[in-house]
Amino acid sequence: MQKTIRWVTMAVIFVVALAPILPQFVWSFSHRWLFPALLPTEWSTEPWDYVLSPTSRVGEGFANSLSIAVVVSLLSILVGLPAARALALHQFRGKVVIEWLLMVPIIVPGIVATMGIHQVFIRLHLTDSFIGVCLVHLIPCIPYMVLVMSSVFANYGTELEDTARTLGAGPLAVFRFVTLPGIFSGLLVATMFTFLISWGQYITTVLIGGGTIITLPMVLFPFISGTNYSNAAAISLIFVAPAILVLILTSRQLGRESAVMGGFGKL
């Protein structure tokens, strides 16, 4: 009985996990693939030629998406890491309020904030700008960084840091050689979250970027709503590549470190 359940679950996971992704490889090489053919009747590299050409703007979108996601992740670490540490390891007045403030954007829909920020950014000339898009992406990213890292810091003992300090290590050396190795796997997962949240943003970028800052989802969108599935599939695969890379880098931490994902239980 238990064995049957296990086998069925494994089969379902296998089929369901891959079914929406693998056919896109085939689609991206198809020129003619009409119903009811199970495989394309004419193969071609045309979708890839198109995607790699400057007219598709895929290259531009990729560069923008990547640089925005990297900047947003670095900024999230910069402001989120100290905040997470303070929330996990220090007691101070107003802590509950601060915790609540930082978690609200995860739960409360950001639609009003995005529209409101758009109005403010128009006046500050931050619309249509790289930095404006980065700022609006920070809204969902900072809370996730703080959420994951405060859970990591909560399971992190500071004794080693004290020992290092007694032995004469300066603040930078303590961080570099004691703190960072201690929190590294958690930080990797948290950074994966912020990177992917920024990487997948659509409507916020459309609104704040105003069509000047073109990102990958904006290039992909019209092909999915249209009927050019070959181009949609090729762009999808480019869009998904960094995500898969990130998963391979972090999957060990994701599965094994209960502290990292367990943070979600404390929300």
Binding site: F35, P36, F92, L101, I107, P109, L135, L138, P217, F264
Partner: protein, 290 residues
């Protein structure tokens, strides 16, 4: 000495300050501006009066309520189904068996994949000329694409829900799995020696332990689906569409005078989401503890 204790006192507030400042300015600042605009304070079109007129206009429109129902239905169904499936799969995957690591990896596969890519994949699968329809034709189950059930652009939002399920089941599942692996088998063994059967061990031992994780992640999923824009726009019917689509469309209209209405609609959407989530949290706590 006094200097040192002062430093100690302001250290933690200093550490949280940059994050809090950014969130307060961007999120709450945006919220306040949006609230003002929904109440008619909109300097760009020389409107400074404070009025509930726009709320009245939104609430007297039938389209709004149809969209609200559609939004709520989609969010509720995807959240409930994702949670149940996630718990079931996590219960299987928590055991170590041959291939369990590989299948746990496969299970996580969709977590980093963007929603748009998931949507594209689902369309290619379940549209009337999609892979599944072709397989059904090959198996002799249908004669033409029109015999295949409509799952994209349908009123029920099948493709939308499938996209969310594909994305969110692993997200909830991986959190539940992390908690289950942290618990270990001791509690269940004690329950077993006390004579609890499999259902009782799940209901009274495991469920209360994993519930906080299920609760938080399902709240995140509900909030996300309730407010998401591009998936219902891509895979759903035009009428009734979801509230975020409706709101963003009137917001992006070249006619700026529609913006206060769009804001009013978004404020109502936000309020409903918050009320639903608070109620859900209370209810789930109550249900688990009794």
């Amino acid at each position: 000495m006094r200097w040192l204790s002062l430093m100690e006192k302001i250290r933690a507030p200093l550490m949280v300050f940059p994050a809090v400042a950014l969130i307060v300015l961007l999120f709450f600042g945006g919220l306040v501006v949006g609230l003002g605009q929904s109440l008619g304070y909109f300097p760009a079109i020389d409107s400074f009066e404070l009025t509930f007129r726009y709320y009245g206009e939104v609430l007297s429109d039938n389209t709004f309520f149809e969209s609200l129902w559609q939004t709520f239905r989609l969010a509720l169904l995807s959240t409930v189904m994702s949670s149940i499936l996630a718990i079931a799969i996590a219960l299987v995957l928590r055991n170590t068996f041959r291939g369990s690591r590989f299948f746990t990896f496969l299970f996580q596969l969709s977590i980093p994949i963007p929603h748009l890519v998931a949507a594209a994949g689902i369309v290619l699968l379940v549209s009337q000329s999609g892979i599944i329809a072709r397989a059904a034709y090959a198996a002799g189950l249908i004669d033409a694409p029109r015999d295949f059930p409509v799952m994209v652009f349908d009123r029920a939002g099948t493709a939308i829900q499938l996209t969310y399920l594909w994305k969110e089941v692993p997200f909830i599942g991986i959190v539940v799995l992390a908690i289950l692996q942290g618990i270990g088998p001791q509690y269940e063994e004690i329950a077993r020696t006390l004579g609890a059967n499999a259902w009782q061990r799940f209901r009274y031992v495991l469920l209360p332990l994993i519930m906080p994780g299920v609760l938080s992640t399902s709240i995140i999923v509900f909030a996300y689906v309730f407010a998401s824009y591009e998936i219902p726009l891509l895979l759903g019917v035009r009428h009734p569409t979801t509230l975020p689509v409706l709101a963003f469309q009137s917001y992006q209209d070249p006619d700026l005078s529609l913006r206060p209405q769009a804001m009013a609609m978004s404020i109502i959407l936000t309020l409903i989401a918050v009320v639903l989530l608070v109620a859900y949290k209370r209810l789930a706590r109550y249900a688990v503890n009794t």
